[in-house]
């Protein structure tokens, strides 16, 4: 028994079931080398991901260069879109796209200036780049699978499991199409260089270049190129396989080459196999060694209605009208223009649609080339379809159930394994458009599954809500009980004082009601000194806990001062209780996080500053360690002031409950976001509006940044992003947050590049501040800037500071303005009392920020 590798080397082939032998008709187009057509005037570049994973980086009227990125975005499978030529963006609008439905998609319409001037290209050699850099380069070159499916290639080049075998697909089994054939003949060395990159990235044991035996010239060219290449001998092999449709299908090809079947519902990587198209290998080579993004591809223009059939380099975005008119397309009556081959291609309704990355062929057949449209006749269950089916399905049964709309039964006949190759329809003696039936059935099943999923989600949400309401109710009751008990205890000892205090409180409230801002000092005197002392004691105890207990190590171990006139002793006590509870929770969370359980640590403390961050346990631990150290330092620094660890001006509007709800929402959203971004490296910190920048935020930001910096150092990732989204939480929805994230990242990078230590970075109070994980120093700078800002805000001319508009590049992002407004109004509410406190806080913050900055710098070094 030979091993698989030996069999691969021998060129052993396995049989793929089913299949058909339609007329090839490739000689119509493969007789001449790949040519170029005159540059078109207008290009339509669809940017479908904009609004979901990406943002546009150009606006109408902008000049663009050839190869310039038109979008920026995040996400693992995000691919940028590039300008196919130099020119001007004349519109960004909904435009019909190259899809069977012709549904409009957001597209950039670019008017060529005729210069065809490239943007700056940065060629590299493999040695200059790390694997991640290569993957990034492939990703940012926008390389998608060129075989038709257009799946992002960098994903397939960065598999989770070991890859033993790479198959380079040059089979091109569809009739008419010869783009890969021609590419292999004309650019075999370039393809081999691309294969070299793939080899470098995946380091497989074998790379098989599979070519059908109807392309002997291509096979010869590739064979020669393999001989010439510098790749280790024996690794790359050209295997010629018999001509049969659909041998070029990924699953079929794997079966023919290895005898293995890709398990249903899985990807080939499961078997340690990855399949790449030859065109993709070529594009990878262009991206790495030339620095060129994927902006053009070889397209076969063929069919009897085309005057000069052949293969052409067409820029992505060339409209099909332009492409066809350049090769003397003559339209016949009831003309079909097919994108792709005659077996799997789709007929277009509108020709003003662009060439896409997966468009390998345009077929304009005459009437005698393709099947006439005939009426579907009755299925006689002859079973020819089952014999032709390469997926070993029973198309006649699928049809039977699909036609009766018994989709569940169709599904039980493994409808989902249908690859829509069209073999069944091809052999059907009754001219039944079987594939069409399956598509309808598949869509119906998909919709059904989606609805089911949504219903389940709604149920989960509803149950979670009920649970939350229940929890809140319980917490409220417990709190009330505790407060009542304490009140009773204090009543016993100092009844009179308590009564007096109560009176004073009532008076204070009244006074406040009548003239809210005129007598800010008056209620201060009514605060019961005893209660204050109790609070102080509690806070002291907590401070001790914070400094001594190793487990209690939250950076946001905050204690509310009682300075605010609106905070009466009761509230303060409640706050203290909550704070305590939270500290405990945090301690638990920390102990959990050390046990490697991913969780999101609640940073809401003292009921006034709800903020949430979803960090992974590693980050959380790092942050916790920093916080611990800081808390110690703080405790030492503030020993004289034993009642206050941290002066924290509180807002009058935020009450405990609201804040917690907000925090919960924020947390949930952050979590969701973290899940949505699969790389799990985006942390969003959503904070409700608070009055001024406090050092806590700066610390959190710095801690997160530092943690990230560390992570970065370990993982060498480049796209970790920390986003502090400060708008009122309920405005932020998932999508917006993601957009914000994308913007923030981009900005952070720009910022980091432009001015790494710029203290004048103005970030108005709590508006979005961006911490590029790459540059912890920037985080420190931001923190410092904030501290400064705070100091300014603390000056008598608060109003001026508050009324300063948010200097914000991101004002284009629609979540910003109201944030700035809220901030300003909040700042305006500061009383002189608060200002004083704020000044103290600012001083502390500044000091800390400086420390942090130093530390961050050290960390980075």
């Amino acid at each position: 028994m030979l091993t698989l590798l030996e069999q691969l080397d021998k060129g052993t082939l396995w049989q793929s079931p089913g299949g058909i032998h339609p007329p090839q008709l490739k000689t119509l187009s493969n007789q001449s080398t790949i040519a170029r057509l005159p540059l078109a005037q207008r290009f339509v570049v669809p940017v479908p991901l904009v609004g979901e994973q990406a943002i546009l980086t150009v606006a109408v009227g902008d000049q663009v260069l050839k190869g310039q990125m038109l979008t920026e975005g995040t996400g693992f499978i995000y691919l940028p879109v590039h300008s196919p030529t130099s020119g001007r963006v004349i519109a960004i609008e909904q435009h019909a796209t190259n899809h069977p439905s012709s549904l409009p998609t957001l597209s950039c319409i670019i008017e060529a200036d005729g210069q065809d001037a490239w943007c700056e290209l940065i060629p590299h050699s493999l040695e200059q780049l790390s694997k991640n850099q290569i993957l990034d380069k492939i990703k940012y070159a926008g390389i998608a699978g060129m075989g038709g499916a257009a799946f992002p290639s960098h994903v397939k080049l960065n598999p989770a499991s070991e890859i033993d075998l790479v198959i380079i697909n040059g089979v091109e089994c569809e009739p008419y199409i010869s783009s890969d054939d021609r590419l292999m003949r004309d650019y075999s060395d370039e393809i081999l260089k691309g294969i070299g990159v793939i080899h470098h990235l995946l380091n497989p044991q074998r790379i098989i270049i599979a070519i059908e035996d109807n392309k002997p010239e291509a096979a010869k060219a590739m064979q020669d190129a393999v001989q010439r290449s510098t790749l280790p001998t024996g690794v790359v092999r050209v295997t010629v396989i018999p001509t049969k449709y659909p041998s070029g299908g990924e699953k079929q090809l794997i079966q023919i080459i290895t005898g293995k079947e890709v398990p249903s519902g899985h990807i080939p990587a499961q078997l340690g196999i990855v399949v790449h198209n030859v065109g993709t290998a070529y594009a990878i080579q262009e991206a790495i060694y030339q620095g060129k993004p994927l902006i053009e591809r070889v397209v076969t223009l063929t069919g009897e209605q085309i005057g000069q059939p052949g293969n052409y380099w067409l820029p992505i975005g060339t409209t099909i009208t332009d492409a066809l008119s350049a090769v003397n397309f003559s339209q016949s009556n009831a003309q079909k223009v097919i994108v792709g081959g005659p077996m799997m291609g789709y007929a277009l309704a509108d020709l003003d649609v662009p060439i896409l990355k997966g468009t390998n062929c345009l077929l304009a057949p005459s009437h005698n080339e393709i099947a006439p449209d005939v009426d579907e006749k009755a299925c006689i269950r002859c079973g020819e379809c089952a014999i032709a089916c390469p997926a070993l399905l029973l198309p006649q049964q699928l049809f039977w159930h699909a036609k009766a709309e018994e989709y569940d039964k169709a599904a039980s006949f493994n409808l989902k394994d249908c690859i829509e190759c069209g073999c069944c329809s091809y052999v059907c003696p009754s001219d039944i458009p079987l594939v069409e039936y399956y598509r309808v059935a598949k869509s119906a099943l998909k919709i059904e599954a989606e609805e089911k999923h949504q219903a389940e989600q709604a149920k989960i949400r509803f149950e979670a809500r009920l649970q939350r309401l229940e929890d809140e109710k319980n917490a409220r009751e417990a709190k009330a009980k505790e407060a009542a008990a304490k009140r009773q205890a204090s009543m016993k000892s100092t009844d009179k004082d308590a009564v007096a205090a109560a009176m004073a409180r009532i008076a204070a409230k009244k006074a406040q009601a009548t003239s809210a801002t005129t007598t800010p000092e008056a209620p201060q005197s009514t605060v019961d000194p005893k209660k204050a002392a109790i609070n102080a004691a509690i806070e002291r105890a907590k401070a001790k806990k914070a400094t001594q207990a190793n487990t209690v190590s939250r950076d946001d171990e905050l204690v509310t001062s009682t300075a605010d006139e609106n905070v009466d002793d009761k509230q303060a006590k409640i706050a203290a209780a909550v704070a305590r509870a939270k500290a405990k929770k945090a301690a638990q969370a920390n102990s959990e996080s050390t046990a490697q359980t991913p969780n999101s640590v609640e940073t809401t403390v003292a009921g006034t500053e709800p903020s949430a961050d979803a960090v992974d346990d590693k980050k959380a631990r790092v942050a916790a360690a920093v916080a611990k150290a800081k808390a110690k330092k703080l405790a030492q620094a503030n020993q004289t002031d034993d009642t206050v660890i941290e002066a924290e001006p509180t807002t009058d509007a935020v009450d405990d409950k609201k804040a917690r709800v907000a925090a919960a929402v924020a947390k949930a959203k952050a979590k969701k976001l973290a899940q949505a971004n699969q790389t799990d490296d985006t942390v969003i910190e959503a904070e409700p509006t608070t009055d001024a920048v406090d050092d806590k935020k700066a610390r959190v930001a710095a801690a997160v940044a530092k943690a990230k910096a560390k992570k970065l150092a370990q993982a060498n990732q480049t796209d970790d992003t920390v986003i502090e989204a400060a708008p009122s939480v309920d405005v932020v929805d998932d999508k917006k947050a993601r957009v914000a994230a994308a913007v923030a990242k981009a900005k952070a990078k720009k910022l980091a590049q432009a001015n790494q230590t710029d203290d004048t970075v103005i970030e108005a109070a709590p508006s979005v501040d961006v911490v590029d994980d790459k540059k912890a120093r920037v985080a420190a700078a931001v923190a410092k800037a904030k501290a400064k800002k705070l100091a300014q805000a603390s000056q008598p001319d608060i109003d001026e500071a508050a009324s300063q508009p948010t200097v914000d590049v991101e004002s284009t992002v629609n979540i910003k303005p109201d944030v700035a407004l809220t901030d300003a109004s909040d700042s305006a509410d500061l009383s002189p009392e608060q200002v004083k406190k704020a000044k103290v806080a600012a001083a502390v913050a500044k000091a800390k920020a400086k420390q942090l900055a130093k530390r961050a710098e050290q960390e980075e070094q």
Binding site: P17, P22, P23, K251, Q255, K260, E261, V262, P263, S264, H266, Q331, A334, Q335, K336, V337, I338, G340, P342, M343, M344, G345, Y346, A347, L348, A349, D350, L351, P365, E369, I370, A371, D373, D375, K377, A378, C379, I380, R381, C382, G383, A386, I387, P390, A391, L392, L393, L394, Q396, N414, D417, E420, G422, S425, Y426, V427, P429, P433, V435, R439
Partner: protein
Amino acid sequence: MAFKIASSPHVSTSLHTNTVMKRVALCLIPGIAVQSYYFGFGTLVQILLAVSVAYLAEAAVMKLRNKNIKATLSDNSALVTACLLAVAIPPLAPWWLIVIGTLFAIVIVKQLYGGLGNNVFNPAMAAYVLLLISFPVQMTSWVAPQTIAINPASMLTSVQTIFEINPSFTAEYFRLGVDGIAMATPLDTLKTDLSMGLTTTESLAKPIFTGMGAEGWFWVNLAYLVGGLVMLKLKVIRWHISVAIIASLFLCASFGFLVSPDTFVSPLMHLFSGGTMLAAFFIATDPVTAATSPRGRLIFGAMIGVLIYLIRTFGGYPDAVAFAVLLANMCAPFIDYYVRPRSYGHRTGN
């Protein structure tokens, strides 16, 4: 600019249903020719009658159903049904027999179930069974092979007999063999003789058994076999059902013959007499009423083979093709439900 939208694929084979059906009918020709040679021109008359009635009946039903008459008639499925029924009944059976049978096959068995592709039972065989049960005398009055008959039927006499024009020409008249005794079919003869205590050897000594098995029947079966092989070659049918029928029948018969050669008919006699080859290649392979997966078809065919043997050997009828096919038709949906091929990617322990 108007562009034509269509779902992929945009090409297809030239083999269409009407061609398939036409080829089936054409492949019947060798069998019909040999059958006419041995049993007179009655068969041709029956075919003519059956085909015209079938087309008329189908057209009438299509008219009632408000469907395209031309499209339906041009699929040639009625032609095949009519031919199969016509070659299955005795060549000199009265005209009304084939008319009733054809009407039943087309109108009730096929169209009332929804037309081509929707019928559960093989129309020709269902009609055959109807006639056999309703008109057993007419249906069992096979003429003696022309080669050994006293009164070979000419074209004219055949027509006269079928249309009951001349009362002296009855089926009985043409059944007289060389020995002056009305002849039954070979299988009937064997069955009767065996039930009377004769051995197969004794029975086979009768004049109807000459040369290679049964006189005439052997060559008729061989001709249908040839037609069937042509169909296989043309990929009009696939091998599974035919091979399964022949193999299972052969195995069963061999087993019986080995156990007791005197009381059980030889495998060769089973394969080359009665309607075995006609059933194996032309009747049971009707795709509409057969199982649809390759493995299912093997089971389906094997079932027919076994049933033919069992009914012939132990049942009340000398031949059993029609019953076996109908019983297997009933099982086809069941077989299809349980016998499914392993789809790609569903290999266990992959």
